[in-house]
């Protein structure tokens, strides 16, 4: 919905294979290899997490991996910078609350 498909300088967006990602259990389409944050913005999602104490919404801020405002829980691992982490087919993203929780019993123990 927010994708830039045509561009006067960059031309048409390259044709890229689509993959499936899951955001809080709901399925969305993403472009293979694009950053998670980009896939979410394209899907119309701008809140990626809520803060610990005041539960205020947060989204992208610096877009280059410096500020850590856009972190989410990705495949059970919290605090992943979504603006510099590419999507993978079948990736499970969770809106993070506070500092998030490690998912037990996964491959990252």
């Amino acid at each position: 919905m927010y994708r830039v498909e045509q561009h006067p300088i960059l031309g048409d967006a390259p044709k890229v294979r689509r993959v499936k990602i899951f955001v809080d259990g709901q399925e969305y389409e993403a472009k293979e290899g694009e950053m998670i944050a980009a896939a979410l913005l394209a899907a119309g999602i701008s809140t990626f997490r809520y803060t610990n104490y005041k539960h205020k919404p947060r989204g992208i801020y610096c877009g280059i991996g410096r500020c850590t405002d856009c972190i989410m829980t990705v495949d059970g691992v919290p605090n992943i910078r979504t603006c510099i982490t590419p999507v993978q087919d079948g990736m499970r993203l969770q809106t993070q609350h506070g500092s998030g929780e490690w998912q037990r019993g996964d491959a990252h123990d």
């Binding site: 927010y2 006067p8 300088i9 913005l41 809140t47 919404p57 989204g59 610096c62 410096r66």
Partner: protein, 372 residues
């Protein structure tokens, strides 16, 4: 712990780091270039506009095309590049601690190090500045030009400097609407050529104005602007609202200096160049004689300056390693300084030239140069 040896480690594969690596590799140095991103090029690929300056500085060429050219050269020279690799520390002035792919620790013992870590965008705080939809102008630029997604439909740009006007124009090119460009100073800050383009597109400019607040529940829905007096105080009663879902902050950059601090480099505060900077000399050597800097970490400027500084640091480090003779190095660096001085001239450049001269004087006082 596994430790590998390298003659030269360069941290950051943006314009400065890439050129430094290319120069050193050409001289025969065994180089390792490290970057935390999945792709090298730093911020070049989001710069889809044509560069300024003279032809010698690649004026008229788009940033992204310079990026492609540099990556081609890096490839051709067979330079070793580690991507998705974060440098987390430098110990004993030489041992570079790297975490690769968020999982594997690696130490690299480097004879010489060039830090080309770049910069991060400054924030401006106002009520609601933490809402989703408020972001750095560079973040929006990355989203539209690299990731090809719009971060919002209707944008208020804060700051009328080059970044503010260039990103505003690129937001228009990407299909967004720019509701206003807001500037706290009583005059506009960007180059005329870019300011005029946005003006012609009908974007309203508000000088002596700032954002009073951003409102919204889950993201920005509305922005309140307010007029400022000559002392930058808000004038009550002059508030008005603008409908927008995004606020972009183009309010300057700060050098990313953590690794230089960790390595024990001495610093000085130079506001005209972005704040605290590692003290350096004309070889771009820091007070830690085996650590050099180049690009925004040596003072916030443009990519064209960063590339010249990369060349300078690459040559200086290669000379210190014995790959370029003292005489040749001097000749080469003299030429680069002429070029840098040309870039730092005119209405916009003189302030940076003066600040850089101050820094070099300081550098020559505190650094005992091993190669000059």
């Amino acid at each position: 712990m596994r430790m590998i040896e390298k003659e030269l480690v360069i941290v950051g594969a943006g314009p400065a780091g890439l050129i430094a690596a290319i120069e050193a590799a050409k001289a025969g140095v065994d180089v390792l270039l490290i970057d935390e991103n999945t792709r090298p090029g730093g911020q070049l690929f989001k710069q889809i506009h044509k560069f300024f300056g003279s032809h010698a500085h690649k004026a008229g060429v788009r940033g992204m095309d310079i990026g492609t050219e540099l990556l081609g050269e890096t490839d051709k020279l067979g330079i070793e590049v580690w991507l998705s690799s974060e440098v987390c520390g430098i110990e004993n002035g030489h041992d570079v601690w790297v975490i690769r792919n968020s999982s594997e620790t690696q130490y690299v013992h480097a004879k010489k190090i060039i830090l080309a870590t770049g910069a991060t965008e400054n924030a401006v705080s106002f009520p609601g500045w933490d809402l989703p939809g408020v972001m750095g102008a560079g973040a929006a630029q990355t989203m539209i030009n690299v990731n090809r997604v719009l971060p919002g439909r209707k944008v208020v740009m804060v700051g009328s400097g080059n970044v503010g006007v260039i990103v505003s124009y690129q937001l228009l090119q990407a299909g967004a609407e720019v509701a206003a460009i807001v500037e706290a100073a009583p005059f506009l800050g960007g180059y005329g050529v870019h300011t005029a383009k946005v003006c012609r597109a009908g974007v309203p400019f508000y000088v002596s104005h700032t954002v009073k607040a951003a409102y919204g529940s889950e993201r920005v829905e509305k922005i309140e602007l307010v007029r400022l007096d000559e002392k930058f105080n808000q004038i009550p009663g002059t508030e008005f609202e603008v409908e927008a879902d995004t606020v972009c902050l183009a309010t300057g950059l700060t050098p990313l200096t953590e690794l230089a601090w960790i390595s024990g480099c001495q610093f000085d505060f130079v506001p005209a160049l972005g704040g605290f900077l590692p003290i350096h000399n004309a070889q771009l050597q820091t007070t830690n004689p085996d650590i050099y800097i180049a690009g925004d970490i040596a003072g916030i400027e443009e990519a064209s300056t960063a590339m010249e500084e990369g060349r300078l640091a690459g040559i200086s480090a290669s000379a210190a390693l014995g790959y370029i003779s003292k005489g040749d190095a001097e000749q080469l660096t003299d030429k680069i300084w002429d070029s840098l001085n040309a870039l730092r001239s005119g209405y916009f450049g003189q302030k940076r030239r003066d600040a850089k001269d101050y820094m070099l004087k300081k550098g020559s006082e505190v650094i005992v140069c091993s190669t000059c």
